[in-house]
């Protein structure tokens, strides 16, 4: 589905991604974890062409990402960024509706079908009752769900999420991840998300990527990546890892 072939990326002379190799299969649920500043956001931005690697290549469905037209790419993949900015007020419905942009020709009005998709994603993300409110009058967590709804409205094959649950309360942390998981299982939506909560990553992901100082330290199923030894090396924290009834990392 998406592949990174030995990508190197630096901001100025700070080398942030070092020889990163990555291959995501269709229908996979992958989490990227790692300490602050380890390069997770940078990796995501390279994968969605917001940043171009100095060397190496990103491929989607075996085709270089550079070959995609902007709208083509936006139909393949949607991105939910870590930060949200908004100067002028749109209401929630208008924002979610923007997700249909890649599917519409210039000047084409949204069809009833498009509007139905918007309704559906607003229900799925639990923001339907907010649809008339403006972006500046809702909470941070609600805003995050709006952005997720907009991404889903793009109907992508691949969804990239950067800390999608950082502003969410306990209920919606689970709701949003469960939603991703169900779309992942039922619609074969491939998901690549960065997460800070190791336990949630363990619970929801098929594969975890552990990053440290711009390098991928380990890739594999949660049980292989989340060992007390690796976590100590990367996070400098001593932890106990329990495997029954399910994988749980407990810091000392």
């Amino acid at each position: 589905m998406i592949k990174a072939e030995r990508i190197n990326f630096s901001y100025g002379n700070q080398n942030v991604l070092k020889q990163v190799e990555l291959a995501v299969e269709k229908g996979c649920f992958i989490s990227v974890i790692g300490p602050n500043g380890s390069g997770k956001t940078t990796l995501l931005k390279n994968l969605c062409r917001l940043l171009q690697p100095q060397s190496g290549e990103v491929k989607i469905d075996a085709l270089s990402i550079k070959a995609y037209k902007p709208k083509m790419l936006a139909k393949k993949m949607a991105v939910v960024h870590q930060e949200i900015q908004n100067t002028f007020d749109f209401n929630i419905h208008e924002v979610v509706l923007m997700g249909r942009y890649p599917h519409l020709k210039a000047l084409q009005n949204e069809s009833a079908e498009d509007l139905k998709i918007v309704e559906k994603t607003m229900h799925l993300t639990g923001i339907h009752h907010l649809r008339h409110k403006s972006m500046s009058t809702i909470s941070g967590g609600e805003r995050q769900r709006v952005m997720i709804a907009k991404a889903l409205t793009q109907e992508p094959d691949l969804l990239l999420l950067d800390e999608p649950i950082s502003h969410l309360d306990l209920k919606y942390q689970l709701e949003v991840l469960k939603l991703c998981k169900s779309l992942n299982r039922e619609k074969q939506l491939t998901i690549l998300t960065t997460l800070h909560d190791i336990n949630l990553a363990a619970r929801f992901s098929d594969v975890i990527i552990l990053m440290h100082h711009g390098e991928i330290v380990k890739v594999g199923p949660p049980a292989e990546v989340l060992t007390s030894e690796l976590i100590r090396n990367v996070y400098e924290v001593d932890v106990t890892v329990i495997h029954e009834p399910h994988l749980l990392v407990i810091p000392h």
Binding site: K75, I84, N86, F88, F90, N91
Partner: protein
Amino acid sequence: MEIQLKRRNNFIKITLLLAVLVIMAIFAVTQGNVKISVPDVVKITLGLDDSTTIKASHSFIVMQVRIPRILLSLLVGGMLSVIGTIFQALFRNPMADPYVMGVSSGAAFGATIGILFGVGGTFLGMGMVSMLAFIGAMITILCVYQLARVGGKVSTTGILLAGIVINALLSAAISFLMILFHNEIDRIVTWTMGSFGAASWEQLGLIFIPAIVGVGYMMTHARELNAMVMGEDEARALGVSVDRLKKVLLILASLLSAFAVSVSGIIGFVGLIVPHFFRMVFGSDHRVLIPVSFLGGGLFMLVCDTLARSLLNSMEIPVGIITALFGGPFFLMLLQKHKRRSEGI
């Protein structure tokens, strides 16, 4: 369902706006030093005037003075408002106005040179002073654009900063020239406060096509502008060709403002407040915002210009004074009301 209702509502509001605009335009033709009745105006414009009932001087005033002037003020007001809307969206900055790229000071500098050196004559129906204003504006736009360019991309913060610096620089230069040649101060100051006093069919013909083509093009990119307001990264993620859109719109919008300035001088305020006004009334969707800004900006300018030429009997007031003096308090009032409503007071 809801969206259809909203579309119909917007349609009704736009039709109303258009109706008010037409009525105001007809009323404006009757106003001025010489009052001309509505039936006479209608007869003259429809070509039904027989010289027995209507004075030849009245036909001349209507056809050669007032109508071109009214059309010009409508067009310039509409252009400035749309340009302001575009810049505010591109820069995601509510303070942006049509002159962010230094158009106003560039044009004023060009015009000052023209006035001081007494260049006369016309070129393509434009007075030499206008021509120099246009050239001054274009040179400034190019400078600001080049200064803000880093490796093929333009940074919006770069533009804002370069624009401010160039504006300050040229304003200082103009002030210096005014001190050196103080007997021309009046003309320069009048020019920098804007006027439609020299309106003619030629001027109208000159800016009509750029205005319609430019505004039309901007209208077709309304959806992209919506995405841009959410942030450049968001727009990219949605499949908008952000860099190309930014370049084209920046250049097009400042070109249009150079055209506007060269026929009417610098008219402040319109391009800043009209977009905000309609954002409060219609929301931020550019598919609606651009056309209503165009109509509403035209209407606002028409009203201001009619006041400018009929308030004082002895002389015309520069229209830029009216736009700020009357538009300012009105806008502040609205802002207060809007704030209270959104805070639920």
